[in-house]
Amino acid sequence: MDIEDQVVSVELAKKLKEVGIGCNEYQPETIWRWKALQPFGWYVGESILRTLGEWAPAFTVAELMEQLPAVIETKAGRYRLTIEKYEPRWYVSYIGTAGDALESVLNKKLADALGEMQIWVVKNGYVEVEE
């Protein structure tokens, strides 16, 4: 399994950067970055090796899972981060004690499912993001 298969896809990495996740150019929050290399396209390289071109944070599964809150509390109750595998897809959800889901995303690639959930968490104000 290549490193490209273990990190968020490049389009989702760009969206994460847009909402302020992993966007610090000088203090990398990820080990890897997607880097644009003209005319060849995007590749994954180490974050500590700066690039002059366009880049996006290539979050790994472990990095995304670490960032996502374990529990989200709302007026309706407490919802725990739960990841389930239903071949061929991954379900990433915040599940309540009654088994109800506050939010659920599914994707064939685990990193992308977690990345989508990270964006939902930020957009709904459950995680503070540095301006």
Binding site: I31, T60, A62, A70, R80, E84, Y86, L110
Partner: protein, 126 residues
């Protein structure tokens, strides 16, 4: 988060090799503690796959029987990985570790240990 925090710990990496897990990964433990990005081929040094969380999920079956599902739950200071019976909510196997990769490795090791017993009990798919 360092690479070391994202891969299985050395002791569990050794156990995974012991139980016969194919040593194919991005990173490898070698010479006791060093981590290499590419496969090491030193004949006089033991190497062990330092599996990432994604690689470990690939080593775990989605289900170990009818109505069971692999699930990962995040708690404040621990990861819980288990197979859940979707009908009665029972837990079949549970691995708890502070590090996600270690929790996943623990479940994989548990699977190899109890595979024979599960088969006797009627579970399939291992």
């Amino acid at each position: 988060m360092s690479i070391e925090d994202q891969v299985v710990s050395l002791e569990l990496a050794k156990k995974l090799k012991e139980i016969g897990v194919e040593q194919e990964s991005l990173f490898y433990w070698a010479s006791g503690s060093l981590l290499f990005f590419e496969e090491v081929d030193w004949s006089d040094v033991d190497t062990y796959s330092a599996f990432t969380a994604v690689e470990l999920t690939d080593l775990l079956p989605t289900s170990i029987g009818k109505n069971t599902r692999l699930a990962i739950l995040k708690f404040e200071d621990v990861w819980k990985v288990a197979y859940f019976d979707m009908i009665d909510g029972n837990i079949i196997g549970l691995s708890e570790k502070r590090k996600l990769a270690d929790a996943l490795a623990g479940l994989r090791i548990w699977l190899s240990i109890i595979a024979a017993e599960l088969e006797k009990a009627g579970y399939t798919g291992l």
